[in-house]
Structures are given as C-alpha cells and as structure tokens.
Amino acid sequence: MPAREGTYGLLAEFETPGDLVRAARKAHDDGWRRLECYTPYPVEEAAEAIGFHRNKVPLITLIGGLLGGAAMFAMETWISVLAYPTNFAGRPTYSWPAFIVPAYEWTILWAGLSAGFGMLALNGLPALYHPLFNAPNFRDGATTDKFFLCLEALDPKFELAESKEYLETMGPVSVVEVEY
C-alpha cells in the first residue's frame, strides 16, 4: 500500500493522569471515536474513558491452551496404542494417567504462548515506525512521566484548526500536529 501522507492527528500533552482522563472522557462524550490515550504505565480509567472495555486476549489464550493439551494427549495415545504398541513394565498400552502430565504441560505452554503473542498481535505490534514518534515531545514523555491524548485525523469530526482549539480548551501543556 502507498505510504500515507498528511496529518495523522493532534497530540495534546498533560501533566497528570487525572487531566488526561478528564480530557479523554470529555472528548469521548463529545462523540470523538478515533482518539487514543498514551501513558507511561497502565491507567485503566484512560482506557475506559475512551470507551475501551474488553479485549480478546482471554479467548485466544483459552483456545490455544485447549488445542495444546488435546494435541499432546492425542499424540501420546497414538504413539503408545497405534504407532508401536509395546509391553513396558506390564503396563497397558493406553496408560492414560501417565499421559495426563505432558498434556497438562502443553496446555499451559500453548495457552501462555497464545496469551503473549496474541496480545502483541492484537496490539498490532511490532510497529517500529509510528507517526506519533514524529511528534517532538512524544518520545520524551510518553514512556516516562507525560500523559497524551491524540485525536486522529481519520475521525469524521476531525478538522485541523477546530480540533486544535477544541483540545486547547482542556488545558493541556501543549498541542502539536502529528504528521504521517
């Protein structure tokens, strides 16, 4: 796809999480949908403020775990009962109690991998390049002690000048335009 050009959005910087959350909630109430908060540590209120309440990570984890466990148990059974049935220590070929342990481990293994990588995938990571990093003040604060609200150009309500004033009303430290 051709690299996008033009404005990505407007980025407002706040001093405290409180200010950010208030701003975000207001923007959301005012009907903004393409907006996003950026914080140096998880601030749940911020996510709720922009109307983000539940995510799909748990589901992915569940599926991954079940698949892993089933796969291992099936393999063990196939190996011991069908592939090369042998008399080990006079135990039955289908020694299910013994098979549980590896199956259990694999359930956890695949659940864990799904959780970790599922989360990254849902977050669209890795994304080494991001327009926000073009903002002069973003990288200085976003991962340390500053709190940002970003209204994105894709939002139908977005109109560069108006939106900028709109943000100014929320008492940010600064508002900057972010280029793609």
Binding site: T86, N87, F88, A89, G90, R91, P92, S95
Partner: protein, 1049 residues
C-alpha cells in the same frame, strides 16, 4: 623397548619386593617426548601404547602427575587415557545422523567343505589340568574357538566346567603372549633352536648335564616321549615342579576317587572340594554332592567341614569347625584314633570344648554311617592327613563303596617335586648343569624362596624356556620358545576317573607356538614326528581295542568325535595301604601361622593376565584384582588394624607388603595368603597386581609356616565388590544389639518362620530338614514379601499366553558359589573387563554375580550363596522409567535391553530393586586389540560407551533355538535352550526353560513349595525363582559354639 632393558628388569624381578617402585632411574616426560619424537598419527598412538607398558614410563607419570598414576597402571583407564581420539571417533561414529562407512567383504579363495558361515561348529577336546583333565566341547565360529564348555556326554563332568577352564579361552587370545622364538632377545626360528639343541644333546652322548624343568606332566604321551628320551640319554634329568601341588599327595602319586552319590555323611579335613578345580575331581564331587540335596524329601547328605581358611566348602557344610592349618593333622589323627584305626594314637593336644564336642559328634556320625560316608583329606595339608583319611575310610569300610584308591597315579610321572627341585638347584650351583630346558614352568617367579633359584639359575650354561609368555623366567632365559596353548596343539590327558581325552586343537597356533611334545621329540630318532602322530601312536592299542571291528582309523575318528577313549578309567588298587608317617604337631597357639593356597581365580599365577579371572570376586572375601593377607575379625582387632591397611608379612628371610582383609570364620592368629600374584611380567592386565606370596614360601613349609607381621603406613586400596558392615544397631533401631553379625546378613537372611525376627527382607529363606518335613511350605508362611495376588494391581495385568514364557529357577541348596557361571557369562556375552580402579568404585560389568550372605556371629558364620542376575520381572520397574523405551518386555516375557536405543539415563538401574544392571560408564569394550576381536561371540553386540546392559537370559541362544524350531515346524524342546551359566554349573543349580509348558523342568521346579521370588512384595513378578535351602543339621551341634573374641569393625 630393547630386550636388554627387559633383561635387567628380569634380573631384579624377584629381588625388588613387589609393590615397591622399580629401581632403574626414572625417566622424565621430556625423555618420553624424545622417544615419541618423529612418530605421528596411528603410529604415535601405538608407540605411546607400547611405551606405556614400560616401568620407567609409569614411574615418570607417577612423578609428574601422581593422581593419574593409579589410572595409568590400570589397563582399562590407560586405554581410555590413550584412546581419547578413539573415544571421540566412536562418539562421532555413534551419532544418530552419520552414515556408516563402506565395509569390505573378503571371501574365501577355496571355501572349506564343512564350513557353513554363520553356523558354529563344536569340537571335543580337553583342558589338561594338573588336578585332572576337564573334558571339553568347544564352540568354534569360522574356526575360531569362541566358547569353552564341558563335554556333556563325558561321564566325569557331564558338561560342567569351572572358572579356570572358562578362563583359558581368554588365556589363548591373550594379546601379551610371546609371539616368536628368541635367543638373547633377538628373534630366531624354532628350527634353529631345534638344530642346536639336538646337536648339543647328541654331543653329550648320554645326556650328561642336560636338565629338564617342567611343570607337572599331565600328558601320557609326553611321559612316553620322556621315557624314550631316557632310553637314549640315561643321564638326562627331568625335574617336575608345579608350585600348586608340589609336596601334596597328588604329586607323590596318591590317587583317590570319591563317589559322593553314595555318601550320607561327608567329612572334609581341610579339603576344599566344592569351590574350585584346584581339588581333584571337583566337577564330579560337586555334582554328586548337589544331587543328594536337590530333593530333601528323598533324604539328604550331611557335610562336616574341618578347615583352616574359610572356603565355600566349609560355608556350605552343615557344621563347620575352623581350625588352624597346623592343628588339622592332629585332629585327623585324633579322629582316626577315636575310630579305632590300627596304629594311630591320639596326639595329646589341648582341644577346646567345642572342638572336642565336634570330634565326638564326628566319631559318632561316622560310626553310625560306616560304609555310607566319606572322609576327604585336604590337598594342601601334610600328606599324613591323606594317609589318615585313607586309613579311616578303610576302617569304616568305605573303601570300594564311596572311596576308591586307584592303582595308577593321577599324574603320569609322580615324583618328590620339592626334593627334585632342591637337587636341581644344588646341581646348578655345582655347575653340573649345561643345558636347562624349562617346559611351561616359571621357577624364577614361583620357586621356593629359600632355594634362591635365581643365583643358581645364572650358573647354568644355557637356559631354554618354553612358555606362553615372556615371563619372569623367559625374560632372563637365553632361549625363549613361545609355547602353544592347549587349544592350539595336539596332546592328551586323563580325567579324574582316568578316562583318556585327546586334546584336539581348535585353531592353528596364533604365534607359531610349540608344545613340550615338540621339544622332547627333537631328541628322538625322528624329530619330525608331530604331536598328532605321537598321540596317535601312544593310544594305538587302546583305541584299536575299543574300536568297532578293531579298525584304528574308525576308532580314532570316534575318539575325536566323543572326546575320550573308551575303557581307560583307572583300575582300583588291591588293598591300598599307606604307611602313616609321623603326624606333625600343631604350631604354638600364640605364634602367627601363615597359610599358603593357590588363588581361587588365577591358580598359581598362570592366569594372572586373564582379565576375566582377575576381575572375578574371590569366593568368601569378594576380593578382585589382588591377593591379600586374610585374617579373622578378632585377629584384625587384636592387632589393631583396619581392613585395607598395609602390613608386612615375613616368613624366614622373605618379606612382602600386603593389604589385610577379613574372612568370616577364619581361624585366629593365622594369615591366609593366595599364591599367584605380584607378577612383574605377566602382561598388561596382570603385571603389578597384588603381592608375590611365593617369597614367603619355603621348601620346608609349602602349605603353612610360622611367620610374623608388622604395620606399614598407608592403605593398599583393595577392590572388594561386596559391602560388608557389622550390625551395630540397637534393638530399638531394627538391630540385634550385638555388633558381631553382618549387617547385610541380618537384613537378608530369614530362617524358617522368623519373618518378623531378623531379615524381614526374606531374601534368603531356609529351614532345617526337620522343619521342612514338618512344614513343606516354610518358604512362604509368615513372609510379608510374597507376590500380591494379580487383582491387587490398579492396572490390568499383561497376560503371557504365547507358546513360550521363559523362566529360570535357581536351586539355593545346590549352589556352592564356585563362580564358574560368571566366567562362562563373560565369554558368552562379550562382557568387558573394567580394571581394578573401576571395580573399586563398583563398576564391574558382570551380568551375573554370586551374593554371599553371612548369618550369625562372623567368627563362625553360616553362609548362603545366591546367584543374582536380571530377574526378568513381568512388571519390570526398569522398563517403566526408561524415557526412550530402550528396555522393553517381549511377548515371551523377556526383559530385553536394546543397546542401540539406550541413551544412558541410568534411571533403569536406579529403579532396579536387584541392582543387576551394568552401565558402560567409560569406553570399556576393547575395540583395538585384534586378538580379542577373534574371541568375541558374533551373536552378541559389543557394547560401547554410555549404554546400559544386563543379563538377557542368553537371548541369542533363545533366538537360534526358535529359528531352528520354526524351520522344522515344532516347538522348542525343553532343555534345548541352555543358558551360559546353566551350562557351566557343576552343581546343576540353574535351570532355564519354558514356564508355559507345564511339563518342562523349570515349571516343575517353580511348582515346588520351596521355590520363592525375591522382593516380590513390590509386585515385580520376577521370572527367576529361587528354591529355598534345606539344611540337614545335626541336633547335637545345633547349639552354636558359645563366645567368640569380639570383632568390632
């Protein structure tokens, strides 16, 4: 290294006391590098290997890395040390994903008619041994002898054999055998020797100054050849000296046979006839003894033993009396007197109450069983004991029934060996000896110390030595001729019963060896006559007589096929009477008595370089790779020693340093030393092991002598394969409260019904004959350790409904712990020898071991012998825990070990309740030595480093039999499969077969009430079962002798 150097070392071979560092100036590693300078690659390793055998090199290593020194002299780890390259190659080669290299095939030019490649052939022969030949049936693969076993058709040993005989196989393939004739260290040709010798002797006209010094001659043909030599050269002298029998009644020609099958009571006067072939008639005696014990309900014999050194004979005996060796003649005399043997008066001697009681009981028993008993004299006792025994047997009317004195001697040319040797030495000193020809003897090493044989030796003009190795004598003899092994040359020999066996070669001499027949023949009219023709002409008449239609050639072929000549047994002597000379008085009780015995494993030292025998734990003391000063626990404590301390023993002028160890039941104030160790030039395996007890042995005291001992600093580091602790546990902590029992014994042994008493493990279960009669099921009643019922298991049990279900039964009553089975197993299964250092840390690879448990006070214990190999459990704990399934169960119930699947986690070994698995911790198998490759059994994989191994019930034999049966469309017959251990066992203690065939011998044995399984309470369901012991005790003696000197240890 140059042979000159060898000469020097030889010169000092017996001066420098063994164990002490050699005297030549040590060389530094720089010199070593110098020596190795220029050689590269394979050659480098080879020369390094050769170098490693030299004394100076060891000295050098010892100097520069002391820690490595011990490793270095140890053959196995030295090989490891040198063959790092080899090891890493193996490592690379074994890796799963490498392709194997091209292998060439070298077909015959003309294939031999009778050869089917891949099918073994069997030839009858015999092992000519000084106590009587052992008739053999030798398995040969592609014309290489690969397994020696007794001749099943021969009525003397009926297929059984013994450790010595089994060991001779490795002896033949010994890479250190001398490889060519030598004159003053330069290679020569046999012909040259023959010429020179013949001419020289001819020039003397009557043979003046020509002396032969030979080991005891066992071959009638050789005797015949000698008599012919005598005819031509009357002045030539033959001296026989066999260190192990010199001075015994055997050497002087007394020849007695016993028929124990008819004896209800057997009395051994220091006769160790159950533990090794060093006693004449071992195979037959054990067989007959055991046959009378297999079915106690049919009645049993009863064995009394009066003995000095503790032997398995004594420990198997119902009642054993430990006496100092020097007391035994007097005891015999006392016994004879009490039995009213004419002309014998009881010597006045202060017998203890116990001893008197024992004597009284013996008298009573013998009288009661006159004609149904046998008194057997010790071979290593004063000849008077033998004379007394014969007299006693005669007096009891045993002669002709259980005892036969034969008219012919057991060795063709009986002689006063010690006397003759003395004469030879004085002649040498007198310069009368022009040529001394030594035939298969090693006097420099084993001649009595007081003769100072070496200095006399140097006075002889020319010395020629015929020997299998360039040994101590060969080192300094002018001529050395490699001698042919008995598997390489024609000869003949007589078994215990006199039957003549033709010794038939199985293979061309590997190193062009010659036999004594050749040497003597060179002096006769036609030197070209081969031993083959010589043997044939010796027996022409006898064979022709026995042959169908009097056709000699037919008869000869029959002899070669059967392995013996009919109608050659000894004739009984008419009215054998033996003059009883004075009975030697016992040595004072407070003086130390040193007892000499040939080694149970390497005999007089001739098998010193046989790894199998070196690694074999000796009976009773479980000592491998060494001999030791064996004493009683009380004596050890009295002298203030600990086991493995080094002491110096001195007799006369002889001194040796020896490790001291304890043998339960050994008489106090006495030291038993085994002969045959401390060799300087035995070879890579034997050299430097143990100490040379011959240095203590003098012409005036060949069997026991007064000696002294003193402490030397340091520990020896003996390799004892069995842990032995004393039970110091107090009653509240599972113990017996007294510290005189063996901990292992207390744990293992459970006499009938005493399940909650000592030994709740129920490993050894036995009863007295009366208890057994009262309760035939004693082996199961009250034991918590029996197999739980099938439905106790959570898992459904595996069912074995195949036509075959292999199983083994071991009769504890019969096993005498002679170790023949172990050596047989070595040969059959290509088991590696690991060396002393590895044995010390418990890594010996024997698939089969014989557990000995001592019951009761260690001063006078009762012992129980238990052959222990893989039990082939149906619910094998080892299989369950193997992550890669390298050990599995076959449908026929074998627990098989798949070497090439094993990754070596060793979990199986941990989980094996019987600890019968063996692991290749290092590269134990020898992949370099060519001659050993020829010896291996082609049907068994040679295990490499890092894999587990264990008894397989000789699965290769099972497979072979099954394939035969399948081809012929039938089931394998009972007895068709014989395991290696079973085959060797003289006592027939081991039975193998198909447990699903209700008619098979093994099924019947398993059905016996006496048969039980080991550690069955953990539901392993072993396929090997044991038949519990029954002892035919004499009530009067059952109250064991009271107090003993404490032996806290």
């Amino acid at each position: 290294m140059s042979s000159e150097m060898k000469k020097n070392e030889g010169g000092m071979a017996q001066i420098s006391s063994p164990g002490a560092a050699p005297k030549q100036e040590p060389m530094t590693l720089d010199q070593v590098r110098l020596k190795l300078n220029g050689v590269r690659g394979k050659k480098f390793w080879r020369s390094l290997d050769e170098l490693a055998d030299t004394e100076e090199f060891r000295a050098a290593v010892e100097k520069e890395f002391p820690s490595a020194a011990q490793e270095w002299v140890d053959p196995v780890s030295r090989r490891g040390f040198l063959k790092l390259m080899g090891a890493s190659m193996a490592l690379a080669g074994l890796a799963g994903c490498t392709k194997q290299p091209d292998e060439p095939i070298y077909p015959y030019i003309k294939a031999p008619e009778d050869l089917v490649l891949g099918k073994p052939m069997y030839f009858a022969s015999a092992h000519p041994f000084v106590t009587g030949a052992v008739p053999l049936l030798v398995k040969s693969s592609e014309f290489r002898p690969i397994k020696i076993d007794g001749n099943p058709e021969h009525k003397y040993n009926r297929g059984s054999s013994d450790p010595y005989t089994q060991g001779t196989l490795l002896d033949m393939y010994d890479p250190d055998r001398s490889q060519h004739a030598m004159y003053r260290g330069e290679n020569r040709d046999w012909q040259e020797f023959a010429e020179e010798f013949r001419n020289k002797v001819a020039s003397t006209k009557d043979g003046t100054g020509i002396y032969f010094l030979s080991s005891a001659i066992t071959s009638p043909t050789l005797a015949r050849q000698w008599s012919e030599v005598q005819k031509i050269y009357p002045k030539a002298k033959l001296v026989q000296y066999e260190p192990a029998i010199a001075g015994t009644f055997l050497a002087s020609g007394l020849n007695v046979q016993y028929d124990l099958s008819a004896a209800d009571v057997i009395v051994s006067l220091d006769a160790d006839f159950l533990s090794s072939a060093s006693y004449p008639g071992f195979h037959k005696l054990v067989r007959d003894y055991a046959d009378r014990r297999k079915q106690p309900e049919m009645g049993m014999n009863r064995l009394y033993a009066v003995e000095s050194m503790t032997t398995t004979t004594g420990l198997k005996a119902e009642h054993r009396l430990g006496l100092r060796a020097s007391e035994i003649p007097s005891f015999a005399a006392a016994l004879a007197a009490a039995l009213g043997v004419p002309g014998v008066t009881a010597p006045g001697y202060g017998w203890t109450d116990d001893q008197q009681k024992f004597l009284a009981v013996l008298v009573k028993e013998l009288k009661a069983n006159a004609g149904k008993c046998a008194v057997i004299p010790g071979l290593y006792q004063d000849p008077s004991v033998a004379a007394l025994a014969i007299a006693i047997n005669a007096a009891l009317g045993n002669t002709g029934k259980t005892v036969t004195v034969s008219s012919e001697p057991a060795i063709p040319l009986p002689s006063d060996q010690i006397g003759d040797l003395k004469a030879l030495v004085s002649d040498m000193n007198a310069g009368k000896v022009d040529w001394l020809v030594i035939l298969n003897a090693n006097p420099i090493y084993d001649a009595p110390a007081d003769l100072d044989f070496l200095s006399a030796f140097n006075k002889a003009n020319i010395v020629a030595h015929l020997g299998s190795h360039v040994d101590e004598t060969g080192q300094i003899a002018h001529w050395h001729i490699p001698s042919a092994h008995y598997l390489e040359s024609w000869s003949d020999a007589r078994a215990y019963d006199g039957t003549v066996s033709v010794v038939q070669p199985l293979i061309e001499p590997l190193y062009g060896g010659r036999s004594a027949h050749h040497v003597l023949q060179t002096l006769l009219d036609d030197p070209k006559i081969s031993p083959y023709e010589a043997v044939r002409s010796t027996w022409k008449d006898a064979i022709t007589k026995a042959a169908p239609g009097g056709d000699f050639e037919k008869g000869w072929r029959k002899v070669l096929h059967d392995g013996w000549i009919e109608g050659t047994t000894y004739a009984a002597a008419s009215g054998a009477k033996l003059a009883i000379h004075g009975v030697p008085a016992p040595i004072a009780k407070d003086s130390i008595e040193v007892i000499f015995r040939p080694d149970p494993n390497i005999y007089d030292g001739r098998w010193n370089n046989v790894g199998w025998l070196q690694e074999l734990p000796k009976p009773v003391v479980s000592l491998a790779w060494d001999n030791a000063a064996i004493v009683s626990g009380a004596t050890l404590v009295k002298w203030g020693f600990e086991e493995d301390d080094i002491i110096e023993i001195s007799v006369g002028n002889g001194r040796v340093k020896a490790p001291i160890i304890v043998a339960p039941g050994h008489p106090d104030n006495a030291i038993t030393v085994y002969l045959g160790y401390g060799r300087e030039f035995a070879g890579r395996v034997g050299s430097g092991q143990g100490f040379n007890a011959y240095l203590l042995r003098n012409t005036w005291a060949p069997f026991y002598a007064i000696g002294a001992q003193r402490k030397i600093e340091g520990k020896w580091g003996v390799a004892i394969t069995k842990s032995h602790y004393q039970d110091h546990r107090v009653k509240s902590l599972l113990g017996q409260g007294k510290g005189d029992n063996s901990l292992e014994g207390d744990e293992a042994v459970s006499p009938a019904g005493s399940a909650d008493g000592i030994g709740p493990r129920g490993i050894i279960r036995y009863a007295t004959l009366d208890e057994f009669k009262a309760n035939p099921n004693f082996a199961h009643e009250g034991y918590k350790t029996d197999t739980p019922p099938y439905d106790d298991s959570l898992f459904p049990n595996w069912t074995y409904n195949e036509p075959y279900a292999w199983a083994m039964s071991v009769d504890m009553n019969s096993c005498t712990g002679c170790n023949a089975c172990i050596v047989s197993c070595y040969a059959e299964n290509n088991i590696a020898v690991v060396g002393k250092q590895q044995v010390r840390i418990g890594r010996n690879m024997q698939w089969l071991r014989i557990d000995a448990y001592f019951e009761g006070d260690l001063a006078a214990p009762r012992a129980h012998f238990q052959p222990m190999a893989c039990q082939h459990c149906e619910n094998a704990p080892c299989e369950q825990v193997c992550p890669v399934g390298a050990t599995v169960h076959t449908p026929e119930g074998l627990n098989v070990m798949v070497y090439n699947r094993c990754i070596g986690t060793r979990y199986c070994s941990n989980n094996c309740p019987y600890k019968v698995r063996r692991f290749n911790f290092l590269l134990y198998s020898d992949y370099e030595t060519e001659s050993l490759k020829l010896m291996r059994n082609p049907d068994v994989t040679v295990r490499s480093r890092g894999v587990m191994e264990k008894c397989s019930y000789c699965v290769q034999r099972i497979q072979e039999a099954k394939i035969e049966a399948d081809k012929e469309n039938r089931l394998v017959r009972d007895g068709e499969i014989v395991t290696a251990c079973q085959q060797a066992c003289p006592a027939q203690a081991i039975t193998f077969g198909n447990k699903n065939d209700k008619e098979s011998r093994v099924s019947k044995l398993r059905a016996q009430q006496r048969s039980y399984q080991l550690i069955a309470d953990i539901n392993t369901r072993p396929r090997t079962t044991y038949v519990a012991e029954v002892l035919n005790l004499n009530q009067e003696l059952e109250v064991t002798p009271t107090e003993f000197a404490p032996a806290k240890g």
